[in-house]
């Protein structure tokens, strides 16, 4: 008679173990422009007029900031120059096809939310540097079965090395 050891199930991959706590390579944004901030503010306040601090230079000069600032959620990394946008679009189509078999554990995922801690405001002319790392994870049984909560940390600093934002995002896989 032979006995088989129960297979130890885990969603933690060797790649995760290798990457844990290790900062990835930095990304550098193009300089933030007044126009970027104005358009962002119009979009997130649509259809109402955004506050003047985001577009009125004369008004902004009278505030303690002395200049236009960006909304806290402004993304200076939008619109990167990347190659192969066609492939990117095709991949997105494929990802949208949820009828394809997803039998393997850990193939399903969802956004578990985020915590953002803000430092200095972003201003026109700022160049933001971003770096990220897989900070930690927590694997446990939930009503979804074996579930992995992984926490990634992204840090933004401006060109004066002042901390702009730290985001800790939670990804859930089950």
């Amino acid at each position: 008679m032979t006995t088989t050891e129960p297979e130890h199930e885990t969603l933690i991959t060797p790649e995760m173990l290798e990457r844990k706590g290790v900062w990835g390579s930095a990304r550098v944004s193009p300089p933030v422009s007044e126009s970027d901030i104005r358009k962002w503010a119009i979009a997130v306040y649509w259809p109402e007029t955004p506050p003047r601090i985001y577009w009125d230079v004369d008004y902004a000069a009278t505030t303690r900031w002395g200049t236009i600032i960006a909304p806290a959620d402004f993304n200076p990394f939008a619109w990167p120059i990347v190659e192969a946008r066609v492939e990117q679009a095709e991949r997105q189509r494929a990802d949208a096809d949820v009828d394809k078999p997803r039998a393997n554990k850990g193939r399903r995922g969802m956004n578990g939310g985020q915590v953002d801690t803000y430092g200095v405001a972003m201003r026109p002319g700022d160049v933001i540097t971003s770096r990220s790392r897989l900070r930690d994870w927590d694997e446990r049984e939930t009503r979804l079965g074996l579930t992995l909560f992984s926490f990634s940390e992204t840090e933004w600093r401006n060109h004066n090395d002042a901390l702009v934002k730290v985001r800790v995002a939670t990804a859930i896989r089950y």
């Binding site: 997130v44 306040y45 003047r52 601090i53 806290a72 949820v98 956004n111 578990g112 939310g113 915590v115």
Partner: protein, 144 residues
């Protein structure tokens, strides 16, 4: 706008002034344009249904997050500071939903010279359903 709220005037239980938007492609497309967030599930009803949302395309979580930022910043004034926002995306933003950012002060304390106000926050839809519960911390001036 400058400062709208002073530390001494805030009381636990105070509510954030409600901040609302009716959302559809006019909002989503503009947000996609500034954030380079052109994702089929936010643009195309067929893709939305393929992603198991029967009503079709749906709104971006990032835009709901932006609404939280706006509600907090409009409340405290443009010279005060948002220190922290944490939230979870629990429900979908359907087309024509009226989303309202709500919040309630849970605590206030001075920490390292900063006058901090703590809030529970959420974005509720027009059916009163919570879609994005979370917490926030804002830093406001003192009259002292």
């Amino acid at each position: 706008m400058a400062y709208n709220v002073y530390f001494e005037d805030v009381t636990v239980g105070d509510e954030l002034p409600a901040w609302s938007r009716k959302t559809d492609f006019m909002n989503w497309n503009r947000y996609a344009a500034v954030n380079d967030e052109f994702v089929y599930i936010h643009m195309d009803d067929e893709a939305g249904r393929a992603a198991l949302n029967e009503q079709g395309a749906f709104g971006m979580g990032n835009l709901r997050y932006a609404y939280i930022v706006n509600a907090l910043q409009d409340w405290i004034g443009d010279e005060a500071t948002i220190r922290e926002i944490g939230c979870q995306f629990r429900a979908i933003n359907q087309k024509n939903d009226v989303l309202t950012v709500v919040g309630k002060v849970t605590d206030k304390k001075t920490d390292n010279g900063e006058h901090c106000v703590f809030l529970d926050i959420d974005v509720v839809n027009h059916n009163g359903e919570p879609t994005c519960p979370g917490k926030a911390v804002v830093v406001v001036p003192s009259r002292g």
